[in-house]
C-alpha cells in the first residue's frame, strides 16, 4: 500500500466521521408517535385476540345449545326401533314383490341349492 493509498483511506474515514457529525436529522415527534402507537396497537390486538376467540366460541355454543338440547332430550322408543329392524331384516317373500319379474326371481331356489 502506497503512502497515497494510506492517505486516501484516512481521508475516507474522516469523511465518514464528518458525515456522522453533519447528518443530524431525526424523525419528527409525529412520526415517532405514529410508529409507537402502531406497536402498542399490535400488542393490544395480540392480547385481546384470545378473548375475542373465546367470546366467539361461547356465543356459537350458546346459539347452538337449544338445538343440541332438544336433540338430546328426544325419547328413544326401543320397542318401535326393534320392530322396525325386524321388518327390515326379514326376508322378502314372493307376495311382497313389487312386480311379477321380482316375484319370479324370489321363487327361484337359492344359488347352489339342489332342485
Amino acid at each position: 500500500m502506497t503512502a497515497r493509498d494510506e492517505e486516501d483511506q484516512a481521508y475516507d474515514a474522516a469523511l465518514v466521521s464528518l458525515y456522522r457529525a453533519t447528518a443530524a436529522e431525526a424523525p419528527s415527534r409525529r412520526l415517532d408517535d405514529a410508529v409507537l402507537a402502531g406497536a402498542a396497537a399490535e400488542i393490544r390486538r395480540a392480547r385481546y385476540m384470545p378473548w375475542a376467540a373465546l367470546a366467539a366460541t361461547l356465543l356459537i355454543a350458546a346459539m347452538l345449545a337449544p338445538a343440541v338440547k332438544s336433540r338430546l332430550s328426544t325419547s328413544y322408543d326401543h320397542e318401535a326401533t326393534e320392530e322396525y329392524l325386524l321388518q327390515v331384516q326379514a326376508p322378502i317373500t314372493p307376495d311382497q314383490a313389487a312386480d311379477p319379474a321380482e316375484a319370479y326371481l324370489l321363487e327361484l331356489p337359492p344359488a347352489g341349492a339342489k332342485s
Binding site: Y11, A21, A23, L36
Partner: protein
Amino acid sequence: MSMAQLIAFPLGPFGLGATPANDAGGRDLSSLSDEALMFRWRDGELDAFRVLYRRHRASLHRYVLRMTGAVAEAEEVFQDVWMAVVRSRDSWSPLAAFRTWLFSIANRRLADRSRKRARRFNELFAAPIDDEATSLPAAPEPDPAEAAHASQLGQALLAAIGALPLDQRQAFLMQAEGGLTLDEIAAASGVGRETVKSRLRYANQRLRRDLEAWR
C-alpha cells in the same frame, strides 16, 4: 403462545398486564442486544420495541432520507419499515443481525416504491436531494471559524453523497449510517461481498474527487 404471553393473558384485557421498563431481574433493557430485544418484542414486551426503535430510528431515518431525497417520501418509507418490524413480531427469527434485517426491509420498500412509479431505480433516486434534506445545521463546534468551515464541508459532503449513483450511495450509507459490515451490506442489498467492496471503493473515489477543493 409463549410463557410471557400466557402469564399476561388473563390480565391483558383489563390493562393490568403492562410490562415494566426493566426485566424481572431489574436489568435495564437498553443494555440488551438488538436480537434479545426482538425476542422480548416477539413475546409481547412493548418496552423492548421502544428501546429498539429509539436505538435505530435516527440512522434509519437518515438512510431513507438520503436514499429518497425527499422528506415526505422518506417519512412514508420509514413508517412502513417500522410497521413491517411490528407486524413480523410473531414470525421473526434471528437469521441475520437485526440491523441487517432492518436495512434489508428498507431496501425492499425503496425498491417497491421505485417499481410502483415505473421508473428505473437509478433515475428515481438520482434526483437531487431537496433543500430540507441538505440544509439542516451541523453539530455546534467550539471555534466559530472552524465550525463554519466544518459546516460548509459537511453540507458539501451531503450534497456529494446525494449525487452518488444509487448503488454506491446505498453501500456508503449502510456503512456510514448503519455501521454495517461488508457482509451485512451484501446481505441487506442482495449482492455479493466483492460487489459491495467495489461500490464502496467507487463511492469513496467519487466523494474524494467531488470534495477535492476542500482537501
